[in-house]
Amino acid sequence: MIRFEGAGKRHPDGTIAVEGLDLEVPTGRITVLVGPSGCGKTTLLRMVNRMVEPTSGRVLLDGADVAKLEPAKLRRGIGYVIQQAGLFPHRKVIDNIATVPYLLGWDRKKARARAAELLELVGLAPETAKRYPFQLSGGQQQRVGVARALAADPPVLLMDEPFSAVDPVVRAGLQEELLRLQSELRKTVLFVTHDIEEAVRLGDQVVVLREHGRIAQLADPHTLLTSPADDGVAAFLGRDRGLRGLGLRPAKAVRLRPVGEGLRHGGWELVLDDDRRPIGWIDRAAGATDLQPVGGYRPDADTLRAALDAAVLSPAGVAVALDADGRALGTASREAVLAALTPVTMTKAEPAEPSASAGSAKSADPAAPEDPADPADPADPEEPADGADGGR
């Protein structure tokens, strides 16, 4: 656990970076510091490994004041990932990853074996080992940066906007990868970003900072999105925070209309192949014969946001739930997706234990507190209604 106790930083010229912050970063969780530039988030992060020395208060790492620990020793036990990766240009990928093991005096063979393991762990091909950093894409460099930070298996990981220099698609991939790694490794992660979307996606607990490192709100992502502490936080979260909140909730909760009950929704008919894979929608009411694309989602892997998106994009206004092999499990109208929200929205918000509840909201197969809808439940009052007005 990392603990900030009144930790503040005043520069020699008198300007205040951080006024004095109290914060607990729980072990084995991802805590995200998010805020506009100049809010002191990077300063706070660097207090942990003594790259910045607080001018007031202190920072404790598992109960020990970091100011009393030797910096080099302290840092070798803390992984650090930064925006530009900061890979050593003159060293091959494998030796970049093995940097800290080398510093710790491991023999070369053991250090390289460990580095090769990590290369695989972060999803890079073995032949990447012999490349130099300049031969890698930005996303690959960041993966190497993460592998290097993990090489000596430090319990604590500091990440300073590690994914903000890569394009959005690569960023989403890296974020997913981090969550996957974290589900295996359970590191104590302190993550700094200015991107609220990223904060909400990754954090078990999110700390919204204002200028001078003042905490505007500390909450799990769900609570943050549904009940921002004040207008300032709400403005920072942006206007579509409600929609974004859908991205934290599993699509499992949507009640499906089973495929067996017929494939007609109003005037539209869903055409399936022999394996029950959807081919397209046909507008029977209009007498059309051409197929319109199907909006599909995976109830076991996707979020409510994806389900709603699929329903919105579907010409029939109906999302098709698919299994891992792409076979149709059932259908969900826009109304059915929205109905999944209403009764259960608040059950996950437990401000007393923010991190624990948020953990479940993110994992691929969450033990959702509400009883997920049984896809085979035929007694769904929503279904006839949405089917009826599909045609003209």
């Binding site: 490994n49 790259m51 910096p71 080099a72 020793k73 302290l74 840092r75 070798r76 803390i78 650090y80 930064i82 925006q83 530009q84 990766a85 900061g86 890979l87 050593f88 240009p89 003159h90 940097t99 800290v100 510093l103 130099y132 950093p133 300049f134 031969q135 940066g145 290097r148 500091l158």
Partner: protein, 222 residues
């Protein structure tokens, strides 16, 4: 010089051994100073990178030395190091090499991206360790670029030493001029150019070998 051809080949044929000795002497006089300059420039450059205040006064001193005419420096040195000795020529050349190599070393160390420096610090490198193990190797392409300039200019400058009796191939110029006999002059020019080219190619090869990672990086501006 009216009927004298540019090159009399028989002279070259008769003096192969002599030309070889001059070439070897020239290479030693010109290149040992570059090597010593490098050996001095690296620690001085590291010190300047560690303590930036050192750099301004140091580079000012070497720039002034660089501005001094070599012949004047030879004359000043002769009472101490003797006429026609290697040292009299090599000492000023060492300072000239240093004047080129110190800025390139410091620039190279400074050109290491800040993210690299920070990552190194965050992984537990102390300031000196980081300079020697991370920043210096990363500055190798700069060092070699500096060496190329220093080596070629040193090879060219060394011939001035002939005026005080120790200039390697430079002696051929004086000889040819005094006898109005162009063949030694041409031979000297060709050999000096060939030596400079050979050393330059060696340094390019050294760069490929020592910094294979830099070959494309600089072109890509990464």
């Amino acid at each position: 010089m009216d009927d004298e051809p540019i090159v009399r080949w028989y002279w070259i044929g008769d003096h192969l051994g002599y030309l070889g000795n001059l070439l070897a002497d020239h290479a030693v006089i010109a290149l040992v100073p570059v090597l010593i300059g490098l050996l001095l420039a690296v620690p001085l450059g590291l010190a300047c990178a560690r303590f930036p205040r050192l750099y301004q006064p140091l580079s000012a001193v070497f720039n002034i030395v660089y501005a001094l005419p070599s012949l004047a420096v030879f004359v000043v040195l002769i009472p101490y190091t003797g006429l026609a000795t290697q040292a009299t020529v090599m000492i000023p050349l060492t300072f000239y090499a240093l004047a080129v190599l110190l800025p390139t070393t410091v620039d190279g160390l400074r050109a290491v991206p800040d993210s690299v420096r920070q990552a190194a610090t965050a992984m537990g490198y102390g300031p000196w360790h980081r300079l020697t193990a991370v920043e210096l190797p990363a500055a190798v392409p700069y060092l070699i670029a500096g060496l190329r300039v220093a080596a070629v200019s040193s090879i060219s400058l060394a011939s001035v030493g002939a005026l005080i009796g120790r200039g390697g191939l430079g002696y051929l110029f004086i000889d040819g001029f005094q006898r109005t006999f162009p063949t030694p002059i041409v031979a000297g020019i060709v050999l000096i150019a060939a030596l400079a080219l050979a050393v330059d190619l060696l340094l390019v090869a050294a760069r490929r070998l020592l910094a294979p990672w830099a070959v494309r990086e600089q072109g890509a501006g990464a």
